[in-house]
Amino acid sequence: MKTESVLEKVFASGELAVTSECGPPRGALAEKIIEKAKMLQGYVDAVNVTDNQTAMVRMSSFAACVFIKQLGMDPILQMVTRDRNRLAMQADILGAYAHGIDIMLCLSGDHPHFGDHPMAANVHDIDSVQFVQMVRDMRDKGRFQGGDEILNPPKMYIGAAANPFADPFELRVARLAKKIKAGTDFIQTQCIYNLDKFEKWMDGVRDRGLHEKVNIMAGITPMKTVGMARYMKKRVPGMDVPDELIKRMAGVPKEKQADEGIKISIEAIERLKEVEGVKGFHIMAIEWEQKVPEIVERAGLLPRPKEFS
């Protein structure tokens, strides 16, 4: 084992892992993050905590992770390269690990253009592949990125993102390969709506044997309304929402759309369980965390293993 993390243990046990996410509040509100996390307690193995998601200022992922840790749960520290240079990143990684946070997700992040501070400088000192490499070297070589030795190196279980739906599609398997080469232990994918395309990507992943080198978690986001489905299709870069899904959502009365969205998610999980190389699910119910337990339960992912945390 490379780490003490719960996620590594769940993957090692051969069970499907389940993660979800909490977006920290846009204010100094501890109770908000605690309330959200509690909804997920017992239903997921670990909880991603976003880092200035969509380039909007929120409580720091690190601080919110500490609150979640204090609940006896396992947070996943998300970190984007947009806002921090390598000094700041490594400092936070040391701090987080010292607080018992031992899983992280290394991202480049949405461009500031999308957020509430479009005038901010975007840092991008390193990119997400180099970020993974840095955290791996901190753990396995016990060295900072600059080369100096670390006293008590942080043993992070390292995650990265993959978007099988972004362009150019033919590059997306190779991009995953680069992240694996850099040292990522697990992958959480972009929300999957176009299952055919995802399966095609997975074919490419298996052709290269990459599914044996990394634990891939399929990203699932339930849609609340047909409006949300349309918005994601049109406005969110790199999101692939097929027209049939929008039709299906539009085909049910407004008050039933949320249920339909949940049903679609559960069907997706059921189908993706059969895909060789899918090792778990990352359920991102954006501002809809209360629905995660129902999805996990109805998708047959309960009970979560207790012995690892």
Partner: protein
């Protein structure tokens, strides 16, 4: 070339308000090519300024000069014969030219007439695009001759982010995704494999990270 755009008229008038006699200095190099600060633009701005002053019931005496290269002390020296008659200088060169004048004529106020924008190329008539950020350690050999630092909105060195859509950047559908361009080039060159090499974190000391930079060519230094 270095590209630039003229500042708004109001800002320029505001700078010059206290003065009656100025030198307006253009440059024959990059800013001429990008139609921002060459002889022609000096003439246009000069008339516009005088007109604006007249409207306010004042006069502005403008001496127009366009130097061969404003970033070169040898040419800036040509201003010596005119500088005493002027109360202030407005430079229509890039930021380098403005500073060259400020450094040479220490007691004369110098104002920039342009916003210097980027190092780029002309895409078509009237359109200029950024191409290089002068990082000091060129990686174009690895990326098919397309710069991921200047042309990717996140300066990613290892491939497209998850927002690349139909060849366009997530930030703006009018901007090409640099990594789509790189990938297309690598394919055209039969160098797809090169994409699989992880490019290491950049040492920004050769760029702005190391503070102001300097090139010393011992063979040329006298």
């Amino acid at each position: 070339m270095i590209t630039a755009e003229r500042k708004p008229m109001e800002e320029l008038i505001e700078c010059l308000r206290p003065y009656h006699r100025i030198l307006l200095v253009g440059c024959n190099e990059c800013v001429t090519v990008c139609s921002a600060g060459g002889r022609k633009e000096v003439g246009i701005l000069s008339s516009a300024l005088q007109m604006a002053f007249m409207k306010e019931g004042k006069t502005l005496d403008v001496k127009e000069i366009t130097l061969e290269r404003q970033c070169d002390p040898e040419y800036v020296e040509e201003l010596v014969t005119h500088i005493d008659q002027a109360e202030a200088v407005m430079s229509m060169a890039c930021g380098c030219g403005v500073q060259e004048i400020a450094g040479r004529f220490k007691s004369k106020p110098v104002f920039p007439a342009l916003n210097t924008t980027f190092m780029g190329a002309s895409e078509r008539q009237g359109v200029w695009v950024e191409r290089c950020q002068g990082c000091g350690e060129c990686v174009l050999a690895l990326t098919g001759g397309i710069c991921p630092i200047a042309r990717c909105a996140k300066q990613l060195l290892n491939g497209p982010c998850g927002g690349s859509t139909n060849g366009k950047c997530e930030v703006d559908p009018d901007i090409d995704c640099a990594w789509q361009l790189i990938w297309d080039r690598l394919k055209a060159l039969g160098l797809e494999d090169r994409y699989e090499d992880n490019i290491a974190a950049k040492d920004w000391r050769t760029g702005r990270g190391g503070g102001p930079r300097k090139i010393i060519r011992e063979d040329l230094v006298k």
